[in-house]
């Protein structure tokens, strides 16, 4: 009788720990995404957390082949899809995308005109796991 109670406590503490670490699944998915870009031949920079991003509460930004990229993580795929328009606002007046991939939202803006034919931006989505 006592053993199950201890097990339950362990589970609760474990879940709390996961919660305290923030969006652990989101980070894993984002890291897998960036790794896939590298494997696919793209050159992502280091991605850093974006404070107070209007697109989401868990966003990281960097560049990929000189294209500005932000990857935001959400609790669900529906939430990621719902944030598309916020992503497009971040893109602004330039070529870009705000494409959900599972619970991630890939946002890219070619502000430096580094991708005139869109090949890098296309790969950002095509290479996503």
């Amino acid at each position: 009788m006592r053993a199950p109670a201890i097990a339950r406590a362990v589970v609760v503490v474990g879940l709390a720990a996961i919660g305290a670490c923030g969006n652990g699944g989101g980070n894993a998915a984002r890291e897998a995404l960036i790794a896939a870009w590298k494997t696919g031949g793209l050159a992502p920079s280091a991605f850093a957390a974006v404070k107070d991003s209007p697109v989401g509460t868990d966003c990281q930004a960097g560049t990929v082949n000189h294209v500005d990229v932000m990857v935001c993580s959400y609790p669900s795929a529906e939430a990621a899809k719902a944030a598309q328009d916020l992503g497009l606002q971040w893109v602004g007046d330039t070529t870009g995308i705000a494409t959900p991939k599972g619970s991630l939202l890939i946002v890219a803006a070619d502000r430096k005109k580094a991708d005139p034919k869109g090949t890098t931006i296309n790969q950002l989505v095509k290479l996503a796991p």
Binding site: D93, T94, I97
Partner: protein
Amino acid sequence: MRTTMIVGLVGLVGLVGLVSPAVFAGDSHPHRVGHQVRFVGIHPIPKSEGGGMCAIEGPHVHIYAANKLEYRTHDGDNYFVGDPVAYNYEGPKYAYKGPHPIHVDAVVGGSPDTEYCYIEGPHYHYFRPADDPDFKLAGDAYFYVGEPPHAFVEARPALIGINATYRPLVYTRPVVEVDAPTGWIGARAEFVTPGVVVESPGVGWGHHDHDGVVVGGGAVVGAGIGVTIVAPPPPSISIGIGVGVGVGVGVGGGAVVHERGHDRGHDKGRHRGWR
């Protein structure tokens, strides 16, 4: 005086509406951001923006407009229905002859959506037809042999102008040398272009009858002048006196292209969508 001011104000508002990007295709999307224009699928890039083709297959935005002849609206995005080869596209391509439906959702995903291509002569798209028994493959080109839906016929007058856009473009078109299958839409009365087009045999936009005489876009009877501009290689212009009434200009590829698109057979035209 007051009336004049009101009229002037109304006129100014109208003028602003005319020059605003909002008048271009795709402006109906409820979530438009700034000057963004939404696209889905590959499409030509305006020369002013560098030219060539945009490779982004999924939904994306640019800060330039899409024209109404070469684009259709699909889920609020502009979808290119023209011939990408005219814009130096070098990817997989599939030859068609004559007007035909396009099942847009089979190419780029999204809501079920059938749009229509009104290019009359041989042309390419970067996608094959979706599984549809009304497309017949003959001479490596797809022919639409189905009964055209009312919407297909109804929109034709407004969109047939795409032929005037493409006719002067010099690029290598597919040359289709087989007889059209029975029921081909290009032979239907409602899909015969008003006016007259006469071309030299072997190239161009008309459709060749059994004797090699080109009959394109409407009744052609009597004597006339045909002008054919042959695209490279090698560039040349030939002017001939032929049989027919009126004057026509045809632009065609210099080479017979019976080219199989890469990947033919792959997912039968049902490309994985992006949504």
